[in-house]
Structure formats: C-alpha cells, structure tokens
Amino acid sequence: MAQLDDGTDELVIRARDGDGAAWARLVERHSGLLWSIARSHGLNDADSGDVVQTTWLRLVERIDGLRDPSATACWLATTARHESLRLVRRRGRDRPLVPAPRAPEPEPDRVVLGRERLGLVGAALESLPQRCRTLLRLFALAPSHAELAAALGIPLGSVGPTRARCLDALRRLVP
C-alpha cells in the first residue's frame, strides 16, 4: 500500500499540481474551523458562508505564488478572522440604526431535537458563558495551538492557559 502523505502542506502542493482530490481534502479538513471562526464573530449563515468562500478564493489566487505551504493552515485561520472582522465592520456601516447581527441562537425546537444527540458535554456547554462556548468550539476544531492563535488573534503563549481555563469550566459541569 502506497504511503499516504496528507499533511496540509503536502495537500497544498498536490492541489497546485492539479490534484483535485487533494484540493477537496484540504477544503473538507479546514472549512469547519473557518465556519466556526465566522460564527465566533456573531455572523449569520449568509455572512459566515461568505467568509468561508472568500477565504478559499484568497488561497486560490495565491496558491501559485505560495512560498511556504506549511504556513497554509495558520494563514487560512488568519484570513477567515480578517474577513469576518471586515464583514462585521461593513454590517455596522450598512445598517447603523439596527444592532449588529448576533450569533444566531438555535431555534427552541432545534435545541430539543438536537439535545439527544448533544450528549453530556453538549448539555454542559449550554450552561457555559457564550465566550467560553465559542472558545471551546474553536479549541475542538483547530488542530494546533498555532492555528488557534491565528483564529483568535491572540499570542501563541496565551492559547494554552486559555484552553485549560475553559476546559476546567466545562469539566466541572460534566457529571
């Protein structure tokens, strides 16, 4: 069996060489985190979709000139954060008389439907403050502290302690 090298940097190089499956794999691996980054800025469905799309288009327009493919994962997270902030600003400017769009709270019946699937951890998450919930979501999806730092726009050194604090808060709530 051929060894499958599917690190993000390897996938970027293969996608650049025209390997469509490598591109699809790259997109499937990282889009969940990009979507969560948009959500962490309080963006709605349409705007969050826009952030994910724009982030991938920015990679496509740069993929041929990329000097350091190993930096791609962090670059994607940083780009999604910038695009999210840009949309938040734009929304503020477009509709100055209307409050900025909030993170969509799930519909009550959606929560009920989902509760069985949420498990113990999901139930505990609901009683955590919004900030901690958002952080835990990003922590759960980002493969490395470097990507988390990029997603949150915080120094690498403060990722570990922040992660530990939120995990402790969650652990106290899980029976």
């Binding site: 996608a15 469509g20 591109w23 699809a24 997109v27 499937e28 889009s31 969940g32 979507w35 969560s36 959500r39 469905d45 969050s48 979709g49 826009d50 994910v52 799309q53 724009t54 991938w56 288009l57 920015r58 496509v60 327009e61 740069r62 993929i63 041929d64 000139g65 734009r90 400017r93 477009d94 509709r95 969509p104 799930p106 959606r110 929560v111 989902g114 699937r117 949420l118 498990g119 113990l120 951890v121 999901g122 998450l125 835990l136 979501r137 922590f139 759960a140 999806l141 995990l167 969650l170 652990r171 899980v174």
Partner: protein, 149 residues
C-alpha cells in the same frame, strides 16, 4: 472524562447544532476552478469612499485600487440597488480584454475592452464577490484580488 473525550463531545455538539452547510462546502470545493496561474495577482492597496446610503441612487462612488509590479488598476464602483457599475482605468494605459468573474455569472460572463487610454466600463455587475481578469494586448495577464462589491 479526559480532555480528548471532552473535545470530542464539543465537536459532536456543534456538529449537531450548527453544522457547516453542504452548499458552503460545495462552493469551497469549486473555488479551485477560479485559479489563473498565468496571471499576475494585483493586490488591493486602497479602498476609498463611503458607500451610498441605502436607497440613494448613485451616491458618492467607492474607488478601489489594485497594484502589481508595473501596473495599477483603479476601479470606481457606483451602486444601483443590487447592481454595480464599474468604471476602470489601467495605469500606465494599456489596452486589452477585461473579464468580470462572479459566482452568479457564467465563466465567460461579462467581457469588455479596455481601450488604448486604459479605460473600461462595465455597466452592470451583480453585488457580491468580484474579480477581474485583464488580458492585455501585450500578452500579459493581470487578475485582481477578489473583492466584495
């Protein structure tokens, strides 16, 4: 529960409550088709001018400037409801074909000419993400970075 189990629980909960929509994933997969390896990327260097207040027809225009080595592309954007009118200028002046790329337009959707003074005009572009491919008569190509109009 250990940390890994907690994190798996968090992932599972958000997967159930707020999954990444399939349409968003499909659009991301398809975005590789917009690649233009032969063109030089012109990056945004300036985005000037407030957008007109909603409902005000043809308010003060937005001016976007993109630059790559040797060429600057200036685009003035006027807003008419959900449509945008683009007036462009290449500095230094050069002529060529200008293709408008937009998700809702067919791949060869809108194409106009930049005349020898480097001026071009696109009367109607839908709002949304737009990129221009400029195929100049000297054989070089420039692509402007995606921007939300």
């Amino acid at each position: 529960m250990n940390d890994d189990e907690l994190m798996a629980g968090v992932r599972q909960a958000f997967d159930a409550l707020d999954p990444l929509p399939e349409g968003v994933l499909a659009a991301a997969r398809a975005s590789i088709a917009w690649r233009t390896p032969a063109a030089t990327l012109a990056e945004p260097v300036q985005d000037r001018g407030a957008r007109a207040a909603a409902g005000v027809r043809g308010g003060p225009g937005r001016v976007l400037t993109f630059a790559c080595p040797g060429t600057t592309v200036e685009i003035e954007v006027a807003e008419f409801g959900r449509d945008r009118e683009l007036t462009g200028r290449l500095v230094p002046p050069s002529s060529g074909a200008v293709q408008v790329r937009h998700r809702d337009l067919p791949p060869d959707g809108i194409e106009v000419r930049a005349e020898s003074a480097g001026l071009f005009w696109v009367p109607r572009v839908p709002e949304g993400l737009v990129s221009l491919v400029l195929r100049l008569d000297d054989g070089t190509s420039i692509v402007t970075s995606w921007v939300r109009l």
